[in-house]
């Protein structure tokens, strides 16, 4: 009965908002929490008023206007919703890996609002993700910046409306492995650079062709062939599309800086960038930014020369840096990942929190809307029990546009919004561990199997 009610209300919600492209906006007053603004320090015992999805007031002793719900967050922490600058959840497809330049494809075409990973990310305080194309090709597809409005099923309603266009590039082992597998270029790091330069040169020619066509006053002019692939590269050259490049090694990072200088492309974010610390001053001088793992490395050859101090070194060198997940699991505890920079690099609370809020917002070009607790910004907010940089932190509630999409106190076991009626229900059986670990044999504890099995 209960699940039915939820379903009905969910359907009502969907039905209500589906066609108008209007997304729900909330009003709420958070009362008496510790507010981690990121841009304006920590405000103790402070209230935050949200009206129509925006942060309307921050202060003490605020009163809820008529009809606005008050949520007492005394003893809890309020922070800007976490932003993951590198994610592959909620996509029906990730790579169009058949070609090494696919700038024409876009993740906005393949958003999957039914992916339960969205809810799991919300349960980790995440409110926005950068759904990226994969790294199988040198110039991959365009990415999609999203807000995690779980329960809405029109993919357009999960878009971060007004966010700039971004695109995925990839260097190193992944694109060359694809090239070698298909017997096409590029098969080496040299080939990657060559493919980038050739592609941009083609785009320059394409741009000239179309400019000449547009300038032609002849009413009987014939248009040159349209090429969405090259047109997207022209948009990059024009600075209309932000490039996010999968990379690891310092030499290839430096290579791309030179390519971008040569073609006059002003902005670049290096994704992963495990060796970015080696070229931190060069990145800072270029104005390039980096989005890194806290401490993931050694999963392939090009990722061996890494350090957990990467994010701190980059930050100290003035490189705009964020920490991302690239994973449906890690996305649930990005706050822990940020906290690691305090152990490895002594970053301040604000610096560490900025790695997962304001800085990724800047890298995605959405920092005018999200990334900090400021009046006028979107009410994308995470509420924590315990300081989010503490190992004891537990996300309690997550709001997007002032609407609550996660509440630990009301967390149903089955959050799926679509169930295939022909799916079989998996019986979870966990293998008998006792034959491996016998040191507690016979002791009468609740065992692992009882905890996680759905069979009696």
């Amino acid at each position: 009965m209960k699940t039915k009610n939820i379903l009905v209300s969910l359907l009502l919600l969907v039905g209500f908002t589906a066609w108008g492209q209007q997304v729900p906006k909330g009003d709420v007053l958070f009362k008496g929490g510790t507010v981690l603004t990121v841009t304006n320090g920590t405000l103790e015992n402070t209230d935050v008023l949200v009206r129509d999805g925006k942060i309307a007031r921050i202060g003490k002793g605020l009163r809820a206007p008529n009809g606005v719900e008050t949520i007492d967050i005394t003893g809890k922490y309020l922070m800007p919703g976490i932003i993951d600058a590198h994610s592959h959840i909620a996509g029906s497809a990730i790579n169009e890996g058949t070609s090494q330049v696919t700038s024409e494809v876009s993740m906005e075409d393949v958003v999957d609002p039914y992916d339960v990973s969205i809810y799991r990310a919300l349960a980790g305080g995440v409110t926005s993700i950068h759904l990226m194309h994969g790294s199988a090709n040198v110039i991959g597809g365009q990415n999609e910046t999203m807000k995690l409005r779980w329960g809405l099923t029109d993919p357009d309603q999960l878009r971060f409306e007004g966010a700039p266009r971004t695109i995925k590039f990839a260097l190193g082992e992944n694109p060359t492995r694809g090239g070698r597998a298909r017997g096409i270029q590029p098969q080496s790091r040299m080939g990657v650079e060559n493919m980038l330069r050739t592609s941009f040169q083609q785009a320059v020619e394409y741009k000239k062709k179309w400019e000449a066509y547009r300038a032609d006053k002849n009413p009987r002019k014939v248009a040159p062939e349209y090429d969405l692939r090259l047109q997207t590269l022209v948009d990059i050259l024009n600075g209309d599309v932000l490039v996010h490049c999968h990379s690891y090694r310092a030499d290839e990072i430096y290579m791309l800086l030179k390519v971008f200088s040569d073609f006059g492309i002003p902005k670049i974010t290096f994704q992963h960038a495990n060796e970015a610390y080696k070229v931190a001053p060069e990145l800072a001088a270029f104005g390039a930014s980096a989005s890194v793992f806290a401490d993931w490395w050694a999963y392939k050859l090009e990722v061996y020369y890494s350090t957990a101090y990467n994010a701190a070194i980059l930050t100290e060198n003035g490189v705009l840096t964020s920490i991302n997940s690239d994973s449906g699991e890690l996305i649930r505890h990005l706050f822990h990942e940020a906290a690691k920079t305090q152990k490895y690099g002594d970053l301040s609370d604000d610096e560490a929190l900025a790695l997962i809020t304001l800085n990724p917002a800047k890298q995605l070009g959405i920092d005018n809307r999200v990334g900090s607790i400021e009046v006028g910004k979107d009410a994308d907010i995470a509420i924590f029990e315990g300081h989010p940089l503490s190992v004891y932190a537990i996300p309690q509630m997550t709001f997007v546009d002032g609407v609550k999409y996660f509440d630990k106190a009301n967390d149903k076991a089955d959050q799926r919004i679509y169930v295939d009626p022909e799916s079989s229900i998996e019986k979870i059986t966990i293998f008998d561990r006792e034959d491996q670990h016998r040191c507690m044999e016979g002791a009468n504890f609740i065992n692992f199997e009882d905890l996680f099995s759905n069979q009696k």
Binding site: E104, V105, R182
Partner: protein, 564 residues
């Protein structure tokens, strides 16, 4: 003497008439299979002329492929074959919104040597919008007869292929010697689906969306170029006769819609997204999750064909001591089953004039699945409309098909009971005025077949069979157990490796051909396997086919009947 002369006259008349009838059909008929007359009178029938209108004790006269009279006390032409239909029900025959009926699946294009995966030949990429299903039509294809037996006279036949297989056609489901005889309307729509090229561009939905945009924008430019050139070629570069680009011209001119074969809701949304971006007229077919799209479909007036592929009703586990979690999971699965099977009712309530598409559903499951939608809220009138008047209107053939009215094509379904009732059987079909007759089984409880066991022991199918399925992972064996009750077969497959039994669905047996399907669970995904083969005494030789991503994979299945 007088009476004898009269008789002679009759005989001569009859003879000459049948000669006329014959000659109007075919030059000669060495087989002797042609009908004696093409004039029929179905007398005293219950006629459902269109959804919601039922006439009792009414006579329908058919002549030369057309319905010439519908009414009481209508004159019956002397040459008519009179069929007493006083216990029968006459409907306009059904119209299928989309399937490969009548088409022969061509060989998959071979992977070219040294394939440059970023830019494969159009043929390999599945970009052949210049083709037509007409080239694939095969009049001997058994799909025509089996869909006709399910009550259909017209099918919107779509070509086999990948992303852009070609143009569609409306075909009449009757016997013919040449495909041209059964084509009712060609170039009905440009057919599209989300099937990428294997290991080449566009490989998946990402590439296909982009490819569509690129093809379409260039076709728009090419069309302008052609028009300029036609106006006055002087001083203009000669436009290239790009067959792919040109196939889009009537679509760009909005003279021809694109029919997108979609399954799930996201597939449908992606087709609708392209439509919004590019502006072509769109139809969606094969839709399996329509309940979330009602607003969009309604406001955009997109013609929709709901899939007749209804999910199997989930079966809860039979254990007595089920955990609460298991029960909750089963309840949610059932909840979504209910949403699936009540979506037709929801579309109808929203005032959407949808049709049904047969797709890959086996013909003998079609009526059963329509009944499932009816049991879950769809009115019988709305179901009939979805099978007759709505598709006729969507395809622009309302003036010739979809109702039992004077002047329309003689496409009729004649059943033993109201067609959506459980006992109803198709007794006669008229397609384009040609009559097809089917054996009907006696209804239940009439005293016959009381001794089921006796019937079983003589039955060619009933009993236990040992089967072997040759899979790429090796042979799999087990028992195929078939029983017969009240004239209907049911059965299940056991597995020697201890996997759960699989129910045999949609068992059909005629002319020694046994066909059925069953569903297996492959890592949480249910996969349907269709088995078709021939019974020869105590052996069964069959092909088991799995469809996956637009491709078929076939395995051999053989069985021998166990000694009783």
């Amino acid at each position: 003497m007088k009476s004898l002369r009269k008789l002679c006259l009759h005989a001569v008349l009859l003879l000459s008439m049948s000669v006329i009838a014959l000659s109007s059909r075919a030059q000669s008929d060495p087989t002797g299979e042609s009908a004696v007359t093409r004039t029929y009178a179905l007398t005293n029938a219950t006629v459902i002329t269109k959804p919601g209108t039922e006439l009792k004790e009414t006579t329908v006269v058919i002549k030369d492929g057309l319905i010439v009279r519908v009414g009481k006390n209508v004159p019956i032409p002397a040459e008519a074959q009179v069929i007493d239909a006083s216990k029968l029900y006459v409907y306009a025959a059904f119209i299928d919104g989309m399937s490969n009926t009548g088409a022969k699946r061509p060989e998959n294009p071979e992977r070219p040597q040294n394939l440059f995966t970023p830019d494969p030949p159009n043929e390999y990429a599945g970009i052949t919008p210049e083709n037509s299903v007409i080239a694939q039509l095969d009049v001997t294809n058994s799909s025509i007869g089996s869909l006709r037996e399910a009550g259909f006279a017209i099918s919107h036949a779509v070509p086999y292929g990948r992303m852009l297989p070609g143009s569609t056609a409306l075909i009449l489901l009757n016997d013919a010697e040449h495909p041209d005889e059964i084509i009712l309307k060609k170039d009905v729509a440009l057919f599209a689906q989300w099937i990428g090229a294997p290991g080449a561009y566009p490989g998946n939905i990402l590439g296909m969306m982009a490819k569509w945009r690129n093809l379409y924008r260039n076709a728009e430019q090419d069309k302008k170029h052609f028009e300029l050139y036609a106006e006055n070629p002087a001083g203009l570069p000669r436009p290239e006769n790009d067959r792919v680009s040109q196939a889009f011209f009537p679509v760009i001119a909005k003279q021809k819609p694109v029919m997108f074969n979609v399954d799930g809701v996201l597939d449908a949304r992606r087709a609708m997204r392209l439509q919004k971006d590019l502006g072509f007229p769109l139809m969606v077919a094969g839709v399996e999750q329509a309940w979330e799209l009602t607003n969009e479909i309604k406001s955009s007036n997109t013609p929709l064909f709901l899939s007749l592929d209804v999910p199997d009703e989930p079966k809860d586990a039979k254990e007595d001591d089920k955990s609460a979690e298991m029960k909750a999971l089963e309840a949610r699965r059932m909840e979504f089953y209910k949403i699936h099977v009540s979506q037709a009712a929801k579309l109808s309530e929203a005032g959407i004039p949808f049709g049904f598409s047969v797709g890959n559903v086996r013909a003998n499951a079609v009526l059963k699945n329509v009944r499932t939608y009816i049991e879950n809220g769809l009115s019988e009138d709305a179901a009939l409309a979805a099978l007759t008047t709505n598709p006729a209107s969507i395809f622009g053939i309302s003036n010739i098909a979809g109702t039992v009215e004077q002047g329309k094509l003689a496409n009729l379904l004649v059943s033993t009971a109201p067609i959506f009732s459980k006992d109803a059987q198709v007794k006669l079909m008229f397609v384009d005025g040609d009559k097809f007759e089917y054996e009907t089984k006696e209804s239940k409880g009439n005293g016959r077949n009381t001794n089921n066991n006796a019937a079983t022991s003589n039955d060619p199918l009933a009993g236990s069979w040992s089967y072997t399925l040759e899979t790429p992972q090796g042979d799999q064996g087990g028992k195929m157990v078939i029983s017969r009750e009240n004239g209907a077969y049911s059965g299940y497959l056991t597995s020697d490796d201890g996997s759960p039994d699989n129910t045999m669905n949609n068992i059909s047996y005629r002319n020694n051909e046994l066909a059925f399907d069953f569903t297996i669970d492959a890592g949480g995904q249910s996969v349907e396997i269709v088995v078709v083969g021939t019974i020869n005494g105590k052996t069964y030789d069959a092909t088991a086919t799995v469809s996956f991503g637009g491709q078929d994979f076939s395995m051999n299945l053989t069985a021998t009947k166990d000694e009783q």
